[in-house]
Amino acid sequence: MRRWIRFTTLVALGLCAVLPNMWAAKVGDPAPDFTASASNGETVRLSDYRGKYVVLEWHNNGCPYVGKHYKSGNMQRLQEEWTSKGVIWFTVVSSAPGKQGYVTASEENEYLAKMHAAPTAALLDPSGEIGHLYDAKTSPQMVVINPAGVMIYSGAIDDKPTTDLEDVANATNYVSLALAQAMAGMQVQTPSTRPYGCSVKYADTSH
């Protein structure tokens, strides 16, 4: 009831701008379900992967923060390491058509092949729907979901918010930490951090 009152108040004030943010899931909440087209032509539904760990990686191939993790081979290493341990890894592209980082399925496939990237699939989110569900603000923002479908991590990929390739080696990787701790039956020690990177290029009308 309280939420509804707030909702109507906001609409009355013309503040629909903040709604995506207010409804977005937080760490500890059930991960919102979605259906998306993958660049490999398949349709992916998140809830089909209940029972497995799922990583969401917000991606923009022109962002230098993303570039740091791909040019250094860090992202590919993480994808290989964790998918080999049964983790489902979705790269998510939320750039709107006409915005920087927007890709067609074939452009994304070309990029994945060129970079030797190894996610389970790359999800195309040109409407920004998945991005808003998870309140993705930057690329590369990372989300980890546990087998029960609960968000156990959201935030930065690591603790070095720079574009310098040499910073990768000495960084503490929050995604690996969250997965390793959760798989060992431990509480995730750093469940939420400020995501760093380039802003997600949503459509102008979607905010």
Partner: protein, 282 residues
């Protein structure tokens, strides 16, 4: 460019969609004195760089100094930033042009030399829709003299204009309180006059929701500002530190304890009778 004095202004180095140059407020430096240097950024229309807390994306410029023996550099003095971005992602930064002032100190006894070669390695992220990292190596040869440093008049104007946009401590008679509600912090300020425009910039990341509109309740002798908490704020905080910009250009550095008992600034303190709600950040 109106500035041409040799020795105080190195030529600008290119960064993506702009330039950065190293400038000095004085014509020379002397042992035991301090001189303000400035990193003067100029950007093409639509491009921006970031404040010390960049907000939802980006990162602040970083500088590494290479100074001769006997010289030390202070931290950057950051002018008040602006809110940049859309309504779901908001960054804090600067468009067009900005000067980041860095005071440089010379020890009382300097090794015998005629000029001090002051060099800076600057790393900066420049963004519009896309972001491009830039690097610049800047250096400035400042003469060393025995008499106190004299200002370089034309450049001094640039520094004094920049100084006006630096946040200063709030007047002693202003009163502040912050109460933490479920989803927001409410900042109440009693300052003896009506304020119809106020924006808060948090110095610490992940305390308030950068993109949320800041709701202002303007009263006769003060105001209330509602700041939505960040989703990343998982533990209570002791104080909220940041820059409060009033009426668009008066910037104050504030550090207010959260929910301190007995320290609440009341409705009466701000003359609430004729209060009016307004929105910032839309």
């Amino acid at each position: 460019m109106p500035f041409c004095a040799a020795g105080v202004r190195a030529s600008g180095a290119a960064i993506p969609h702009g330039t950065v140059e190293l400038i000095a407020e004085n014509q020379w430096i002397a042992a035991g004195y301090s001189v303000n240097l400035g990193l003067h950024f100029r950007l093409e229309k639509g491009w921006h760089i970031y404040w010390i807390n960049p907000g939802d994306s980006g990162e602040p410029p970083r500088v590494e100094w290479h100074l001769p023996a006997g010289f030390t550099a202070d931290a950057i003095e950051w002018p008040a930033p602006r809110r940049l971005g859309t309504s779901s992602i908001v960054d804090f930064g600067y468009e067009d042009a900005v000067t980041l002032i860095v005071p440089i100190h010379a020890e009382a006894y300097l090794p015998a030399q005629q000029t001090a070669q002051l060099a800076a390695e600057v790393k900066v992220l420049v963004c519009r829709e896309m972001c491009l990292p830039g690097k610049a190596h800047l250096s400035l040869a400042l003469p060393i003299k025995s008499q106190p440093p004299a200002p370089e008049t034309k450049i001094e104007e640039l520094f004094s204009a920049t100084r006006k946009s630096l946040p200063r401590p709030a007047p002693k008679n202003w009163r502040f309180s912050i109460e933490g509600a479920n989803e927001s912090f409410v900042l109440t300020v009693s300052l003896g006059r009506k304020i119809t425009q106020a924006v808060f910039f948090p110095l610490v990341e992940s305390q308030i929701d950068n993109a949320a509109p800041q709701k202002l309740l303007a009263a006769d002798s003060g105001f209330r500002l509602t700041l939505r908490k960040s989703d990343q704020l998982l533990k209570p905080i002791e104080d909220l530190k940041g820059v409060l910009v009033l009426s668009g250009d008066q910037a104050y550095l504030i550090d207010v304890p959260v929910g301190k008992l007995g320290a609440t600034v009341t409705d009466n303190d701000i003359g609430i009778r004729s209060a009016k709600f307004m929105e910032e950040g839309q």
